[in-house]
């Protein structure tokens, strides 16, 4: 079991009600998309936050990554809506 820090920003943080948490990932999670599906099954807050994976973005260890990216070896995975700075 791999332990990973999960970070949530903006709308996702509000929907889940958490900015950060530590999770032990079960076997069978290979990609960010797998992780999102697993988190969506936690409770209705997570289900709502991860209802439309394609509308979310992620960063692995502070680098923007596609949803198909492997989670193996990741220490910090962040989820957020498309960015709106500038």
């Amino acid at each position: 079991m791999a332990s990973v820090t999960l970070l949530y920003f903006a709308r996702i943080r509000e929907q889940i009600g958490l900015a950060e948490e530590q999770r032990e990932l079960p076997g069978g999670i290979a990609t960010v998309r797998d992780l999102m599906a697993w988190l969506a099954g936690m409770d209705e807050r997570y289900e709502r936050a991860f209802a439309e994976p394609e509308k979310l973005r992620c960063a692995i260890d502070q680098v923007m990554s596609p949803l198909d990216a492997a989670t193996d070896g990741a220490e910090e995975i962040a989820f957020f809506p498309p960015v709106t700075g500038g």
């Binding site: 903006a10 502070q62 957020f80 960015v83 709106t84 700075g85 500038g86």
Partner: protein
């Protein structure tokens, strides 16, 4: 010269431009973004991903330096609660070639809008608030530099 700052405090565009000017390049281009007012907007709060923000901006500055012959790049982005009219972002470039300075400045603000982890939440009268949605026109503007 590369200057990248993420801060709650305001910045002074005049002194930033002056600093780029002293490099002796001959040409300085800049963009300053402000909070857009209207529609009853009371304030805007900028959230960011602190561990990633400076790195993302630094990466962008590096990409601009690799593509254009720049002597200086300055990127400043504010975070926290801002009022309509307040400054949000400063992009400045210095080059011996005006096209390089102007294009690099345009590249930096376009890509900053899609690559840097900032999120805006707008507050309106009567306590209503809403996250700003990303615009497909911003994605298109960023992609023209691919």
């Amino acid at each position: 010269m590369r200057r990248v700052l993420v801060q709650a405090e305001d910045f002074d565009p005049g002194s930033e431009l002056a600093a780029l000017g002293t490099l002796g390049s001959g040409g300085v281009a800049s963009f300053v973004g402000h909070v857009r007012g209207g529609d009853g907007l009371v304030a805007m709060t900028l959230e960011h991903y602190p561990a990633m923000t400076a790195r993302a901006l630094d990466t962008l500055a590096g990409e601009a330096e690799a593509r254009w012959p720049l002597d200086g790049v300055t990127l400043i982005h504010r975070v926290g609660r801002l009022a309509p009219g307040d400054r949000i972002v400063f992009v400045g470039t210095a080059s011996r070639h005006r096209a390089a300075a102007l294009e690099a400045c345009s590249f930096l603000i376009d890509r900053l809008k899609t690559d840097a982890p900032f999120w805006k939440k707008e507050e309106f009268a009567a306590g209503r608030s809403a996250w700003v949605e990303a615009r497909s026109s911003d994605d298109a503007a960023a992609r023209r530099w691919d």
